[in-house]
């Protein structure tokens, strides 16, 4: 169980971004997180993934925090999640050796491996970061608008794979403003408004 309890977060005390948010994600569950932009969705995602520390409250994932983190985070702008001086092959294999089946299911070509991140398209790079995150040690995936800028066909391909992983026990928090998408993929959907879950 990945559990966020009573999370508060603010860069400036007079403008809180999250005020008292609690959310629990179970293995094999796909929670959709929707809400208007600026409502704090991404901040909650980053806190649950350990990218940001909450001002108050706690996040527990029930597993030790050394080594590969059981919670991995993916963002719409994948270009920031890769070292611009590394080639794709090295990026993919930084943490673990992905299996051929997943690589092919994501349509990632070996030909990209000796290119740099800026030499492949945003959609291609998004799939690269997804492959990198899908280690067997990953128990929970925070997917922040990961298919928002992709074409519907690629989007469907990615969600087909993620739903299969979910069935096999991966817990997914899908952050998106795309209501029809969440309706199709999520076990349940929660909405966030002005730093609170409705």
């Amino acid at each position: 169980m990945l559990e966020a309890r009573d999370i508060h977060f603010a860069y400036r005390p007079e403008a809180p971004i999250l005020s008292g948010v609690s959310l629990a994600l179970a293995p094999g569950e796909l929670i959709g997180l929707s809400g208007a932009s600026g409502g704090g969705k991404s901040t909650l995602g980053r806190i649950m993934a350990g990218y940001l520390h909450p001002g108050r409250g706690s996040v527990t994932s029930g597993e030790s925090m050394s080594g590969w983190s059981p919670v991995q985070y993916l963002h719409q702008s994948s270009i920031f999640a890769v070292d611009p001086r590394w080639r794709i092959g090295r990026i993919v294999e930084e943490g673990w050796q992905p299996d051929e089946a997943t690589r092919q299911a994501l349509g990632i070509s070996r030909a990209w491996y000796d290119r740099y991140p800026h030499e492949i398209s945003g959609g291609e790079l998004q799939r690269v970061t997804l492959l990198r995150a899908l280690s067997p040690q990953t128990r929970y995936l925070i997917a922040d608008e990961i298919t928002a800028m992709l074409d519907p066909i690629t989007q469907a391909d990615i969600w087909r794979l993620l739903l299969a992983r979910c069935e096999a026990g991966l817990g997914i928090l899908a952050i998106s403003h795309d209501a029809p998408l969440l309706a199709r993929v999520a076990t349940r959907t929660v909405t966030m408004q002005s730093g609170k879950l409705l």
Partner: protein, 287 residues
Amino acid sequence: MSEAIDIPAVMLRSTGLNNRAWTLLAALTGALVIASVAMAAVLLGGFGIDADFTTRLAPPSLSRWFGTDQLGHDMLARTIHGLNVSLWVGLIAATISVLIATLLALFATTCGRWADALVSFLIDAAMGLPHLVLLILISFALGGGTAAVIIAVAVTHWPRLTRILRAEILQLRHADFIIVSRRMGKSWAYIGYHHFLPHLWPQLLVGLVLLFPHAILHEAALTFIGFGLEPSKPAIGVLLSDSMRYLMAGKWWLGLFPGLCLLMLVLCFDAIGNGLRLLADPRQEQL
């Protein structure tokens, strides 16, 4: 799944040299000029240093391109010796500066908030003081001479690079790909070597090369006004200040050629710096 599409690329028929080729050619030329100055100084040995009173204050001619000075020194040989002295002073001072900058930047970014505040204060203080005045003070306090000049130049040139390195490290530390690496269980040692270093060494190298011109010019300036190298040394600053007494008498070559050569040396380092910047990060500048 949609097939991975590889972009077909058309090779351009090269029409003359492109911008990059020019930049690298200039850098190479600069490096060659500097190397030949250093080599020529060794080959010349005592020529240009020992006095020859038979040929005093001779204007430029085919046999003596830069003319001779009041002691009969060949000015070309003397200028080369002077540039060589500048090179060494510059090299040592710039290296020390880069070391100071690196240590301070690391200290500021890894030892907590107070360390960062302290380093930022030092940077602001050092940049707020008039550069030349500080140089004169330090050199004077240390009693002049080569060591004093090197120390004075070294301890006044780190602030800019420290600021750049500090900003670069801070930016990297909060970069998503560094956090990703942490979340994949990588140690800080691994991240430092594999993620930070490749981003930092180009800054260090370019910083070192671009510090050279500053160091050389300030050394010459210090020496020119008499707080620097010993008057017996064939330094460019000494040549220029000596020439002052004869310029009014129409001996223009004493000042003109050493001055121009100093300018050329500085431009050479600039060209090398630009070339290195390009080599270090070829993603930039697609023109």
